[in-house]
Symmetry: C3
Subunit: 264 residues, 3 copies
């Protein structure tokens, strides 16, 4: 089986912290392939991190170990954890970062299990208060990729922190949702998806004071500057400005409401 570890953090790319984690991983598991998902999660934004992880993780092969470190509580009493979520493993802080991937696994009927990483045998010998990515998460992930059983990593727990991620709400003629994440291009990705929209004829979308009639198939069909609704990379409803930024145009931000209703 392929041995793959992914890294998702808010460390940025300039200080070498992700390179350091690779060094630790390859010291323990020299034949692992490592993919950076992103190191540009907004600083300490666990909510953004959980959505980004959920978007990328399921594209990896079964057995992949996803190391995610957005960790405002590093060095405090927050627990280091690992999760077994169907085909994937998660290693990171117990602060809700795993939530969206956990939900994804449950939605597909996968079994899930969690451990508190309290078996120090799989940590580096010396553990700092500021960089558990290097000292705990990277080595644990490497041992896991090497075949160390999940259950050996620590004590089973059943109370891992789970963020409350708002679900779309039914309205009289449609659904009310929220912007979950905003990408690099300023596209607003919402918690509405294909499932919510499949029975709505002639949908009209409202975000702030802006209305959009109908869904487009692809940006290529539209005029530059047009505000459109389109399905995104994971069947999420996305509000976008063609060759522009919906974030700037609509002043959208995490948490902004988006409504859809049938106009037929």
């Amino acid at each position: 089986m392929a041995k793959i570890i992914t890294l998702l953090t808010d460390f940025g790319l300039s200080d070498g912290y992700n390179g350091i984690m690779k060094g630790v991983i390859w010291t323990i598991a020299p034949d692992v392939s490592i993919a950076d998902i992103t190191h540009s999660v907004s600083a300490q934004n666990v909510r953004e991190g959980t959505f980004m992880l959920q978007k990328a993780a399921p594209c990896f092969p079964a057995g992949t170990v996803h190391v995610s470190v957005v960790d405002p509580g590093v060095g405090t009493t927050r627990r280091p954890i690992a999760a077994h979520l169907g085909p994937y493993f998660f290693v990171g802080p117990d602060n809700g970062l795993v939530t969206a991937l956990w939900q994804w696994a449950e939605d597909r009927g996968y079994e899930t299990a969690f451990v508190h990483l309290d078996n120090t045998r799989y940590w580096l010998e010396k553990v700092s208060n500021v960089f558990h990515g290097r000292d705990i998460f990277a080595p644990v992930a490497a041992h896991l990729a090497n075949g160390v059983p999940f259950a050996s990593l620590g004590s089973p727990i059943h109370d891992a922190v789970r963020l409350s991620l708002p679900q779309a709400q039914r309205t009289a003629r449609g659904w009310r949702g929220l912007v979950n994440i905003i990408d690099n291009f300023g596209n607003l990705s919402t918690n509405l998806n294909h499932t919510h929209l499949k029975d709505i004829k002639k949908p009209r979308f409202r975000i702030g004071s802006h209305h959009i009639d109908g869904l487009v198939e692809t940006f290529g069909d539209c005029k530059p500057g047009e505000v459109v609704a389109v399905f995104g990379t994971t069947d999420d409803l996305m509000i976008a400005v063609v060759e522009g930024s919906a974030k700037e145009r609509l002043q959208g931000g995490g948490g902004d409401g988006v409504e859809v209703e049938e106009t037929l």
Copy 2:
């Protein structure tokens, strides 16, 4: 033979899209090595992308599959293609992104062949309208690296889109060329190269209203702030400001004219 895939896109590094492509590739071809060339091509700038690909691709070993995605037409009728260009493969949109590498291969007398990627067997099962990098190009590249014959990927075509890349023009006493790309340091890389300059004695360069007398061997020989002409990383004539930015100083931009003439 080494199995190597490179990625060049305009996705940026913050949203995890390149990580997602790696997940797809490793699901199909777990033993492939993947190199990011860059994910910072200016948004939808196919012309810049083709130059950057051409600059990097020939440094890779024979058999490397270069996946390039600068794709304003994603989801429209623009075709997904693959090209066999001497020692390399290209996989990406049919929008001219392959042009400079194609030209490179022709200049060296390599055989070239193109297919329309219409064999859906090598795609992901579900294809979105917004992310062919994940759904078509990454899986096709992985299968190609796995040894799937090029000809199996789709129907042969002979009309792949080719950008018209301006060639340097002869003038009375020299050549007239153009700035092709501007790098991170503000250096202006032109379509003039060693071939154009080898017979010009005591060259004088003109860019906008600025004159430069002679070529320097290396930045190390010059004074900070000096505007110089120097051969770049691929024998391209480069206009640079020592420890500064020629882009800022000369207000250079893609398409700016550069002339060289003999002053002897």
Copy 3:
């Protein structure tokens, strides 16, 4: 043994230069794993580069070849060198970039050896004046990872350039040190460390006109906006602003003085 090469440069990520180095490496040594440490060293800042290399390099397995290119003198008479520093190899320009890792090796009693890379057999055939990372350092590192003996790479030298890195100075009641590097979050990492502080009871720190009483264990214990002293990722004394930037708040820069004294 694992074959690992790391890259640390000031090239940035947008121009594809680090991808090009990977292509060269994999052409010579197809089974090497390559980790980017960082490509965001401040342009031509050798001093910053040496600290960043020293911070990351020792996290890699024995035998790792560290290629580092911050190289204002490229194309001049500055020598290309390689160093054998205990468990690690360094390949790069002879401008002091190796200093902090060299010091690290000496502090641990490792043997050290240097060669001038004058055996052109391990270079690319054609060498430019502007990109020795591609033409000399990447191919030499690949051959080294392939098992070419260190001594074959060139002539032994005993006068490699060594930066004078200021050491902490004893004061009447403590130590006077300096800010070495500033990270992405604006944290100020100093040349004071655990060794200097272990015998100081109730330490008080001074940086510019700012005083800090005591060391904190972890950011999680502090109030947002608080200026704190804390041990960093390598036991370095770090001055930080909780959920903020010490760089902005204290106007700190490379070279700023930091003092600690006992207040008991």
